[in-house]
């Protein structure tokens, strides 16, 4: 049962990491324009500003 003391926190930390990644993606606007993002990869030039 000792292994639980490591495994449960480990599972929680991994889950929290994934949650944090998703929340970060949401906050940085990556879910705002799903249609546009699909087309953007087709633009050749790299100098167009993308912020």
């Amino acid at each position: 049962m000792d292994s639980l003391l490591i495994l449960i926190p480990a599972a929680l930390v991994l889950g929290l990491l994934a949650l944090a990644a998703l929340l970060w993606a949401l906050r940085s606007g990556q879910y705002d324009d799903p249609d546009g993002a699909a087309g953007r990869i087709l633009f050749d030039d790299d100098d167009a500003r993308s912020k």
Binding site: M1, L4, I8, A11, L12, G15, L16, A18, L19, L22, L23, L26, Y31, D32, D33, P34, D35, G36, A38, G39, R40, L42, F43, D44, D45, D47, A48, R49, S50, K51
Partner: protein
Amino acid sequence: MTDAALFAPTVSVAAPATARTCAHCGETVRGETVRGKTAQGASEALFCCAGCATAHAIIAAAGLGAFYRQLEQIHAHRPEPLEIDFAAFARPDGQEGASLELLVDGLDCAACVWLIESLLARDPTITRARVHLSTRRLSLAWRGPLADANGHAGLVAALGFRLAPYDTIAAAVGDDRETRELLRAIAVAGFAAANVMLLSVAVWAGHDGSMGDATRTLFHWISAAIALPAVAYAGQPFFRSALAALRAGRSNMDVPISIGVTLACIVSVHEAWAGQQHAYFDSAITLLFFLLIGRYLDRRARGRARQAVHALLALSSRTATVIGADGSTVSRRIDGLVPGDLLLVAAGERLGADGIVSEGISSLDASLVSGESLPQPAHPGVKAFAGTINLGGVLRVKVTAAGENTLLSEIVRLVEAAERGRSRFVAIADRVARAYAPVVHMTALLTFLGWTLLGGLAWDRALLVATAVLIITCPCALALAVPVVQVVASTRLLRSGVLLRSPTALERLAQVDHVVFDKTGTLTLGRPELVAAPDDPEVRRVAASLALNSRHPLARALVRALPEAMPAAGVVEHPGEGLEGDGVRLGSASFCGVTDPPDDGRSELWLARPSQRPVRFAFADRLRPDATATIAALCRRGLTVEVLSGDRGAAVAEAAAAAGIAEWRSAVTPSQKAQRLATLAAEGKRVLMVGDGLNDAPALAAAHASLSPTTAAEATQCAADAVFQGDALHPVAEILDVAHRADRLVRQNLVLALLYNLSAVPLAILGDVTPLVAAVAMSSSSLLVIGNALRLGAGRPHGKRS
């Protein structure tokens, strides 16, 4: 297919790039041309107007000629002058710069996004230029004064995109942040549900005694540490709505949800504290997770519809040119016009107010207002209505009624009145919820009282059983049943070019038993087509080369039918009469000296050449290609069909006969249309109205359900429940088909969800529902409902053409 594509203005399809097409917008060049260099700089290019030449020059100068290659099948838009002062909408950022949010109309594809962003990025003062294709929003930030806003916006507008400040929509919809909040709540609930479930499975597996009491209690406390904060955060949408409902003295679905989840948490903490076997942390958070998904799907469907409406409204604020007493002209917003103003109406411009023509000869396209397909002659003394388009020469119009008093505003008022009536319609899910919530509360309360008073159980044991009842009856499957079907149905319809605008549209469409069609633009294509012409190819060529010099709809129809002609030189247009060049005349019967034209209800052009008899070109508004088949399909379904049109009797009779419709009414005014719909409703009929004109808008809003083609006026699209794309009429049958199937699935789902509750509730009342049983029952019923809904999406949309 994107929403933007559905709402974009009609864009001409690519024609082979011959010498006569504009190098920017691809329209046929007629009369005077503007010359310039192509983007590649090699040869000379032709443009239809100075605006297109400017747009092309801007693109070429910025070295963005690749735009035209990326456009593929669609042409760029013809630019329109800027009409709004954008500086007033710009926000200073506190330092030296400012930012502005704009709605961009005419965004069709990624190429437009690329063009706008790349062009703005060349300006070193612009620090951010980002276009959102989904929401059609351009967010812009720059260093410099607020007044630069007009320059930056002007650059985009010069490319042919129509712009409107985004604020007006954002304020009205306010939806963006809420959707994001919901997504965040789903993420938190999902994370917590997965982890608590992980622990719960271990606890369930240990019920046979292999897990010690201390370990189980520890697991319960860890679950509590994860679930309680997650419930407090992710449950907010439900708690808020439940509180609001209770405060208003009502009850909604969120009340039992909130009570159930809160009670489950409290009871579980008590269980963990007492070191007991059963804790419902996993049920509480999983429940929220499922419910949030249903809520999110529902919100997305509604938000999309609402945004489309507000985008249309924001774009329709326009200005008119007013001639002052000293002869100077000023641009004024339409809502600032007063009776007595003298308006200058250029060719192609839409009238902003009702008035009387005081100078100039032209013809007016009143099809949006009256449904009449033929242009009306306009000369001094004629009444002209807001919403009509000036087709010929410049007109001066004295305003008699402006703003709220115009015929157009009258129509908008009729629409609003009718929509208020329709908002009384209650969706089936809400009806079920209203009946369901009190029953749930009573059952749980009775269970608690029964076990404490009759069963002799301690209060905390009885509360545990009552909580199980609340959890098992929580309308998890019920909450998913309707939104999932709606999402699947609208996705499927979107694939065949139909956009649902109202969340209850499908339900109302499924109840329809009578269909009313408008004629012009709905049964027919709404544009005249050449149906009879002289056989002599030389005559045809001469007529087409004259016609190339005019924008009159009949002339354009002639050119469409005879595309090979080259424009004739030295042609003079006599507005409202016809064209003349080299002694050859093309125009109305009287203009060509014909005294007794045949009256067969068709529009006509005559060609008169010196010393030869005038010959006649006849035009008719063709039926949509599959109109007859679609009407027949509707009749086979047992629906009754009729035509209601503002057009003349002969034209309506002919179209109705061709489409196979026996019942028709002609020359009907907008309010008469709405009246007719009210009469039908009084007879107990559930009417589907299909129409495209502004004159149909009140009828569309008054009908039980309504459809309009995407070519319809903006206000009309706003009044319709769904809009369909393309020249074909079969989407009408397809929408009804999908609506019927969706309705059946919704009912099946509700029955499934209720059946599950009926079978599980007795177990819960008896106290046999452990957390394990609750989790299994909840997930399986939700999956069953979702799986059932997905059946609608399976299979190809039928009747679809490649």
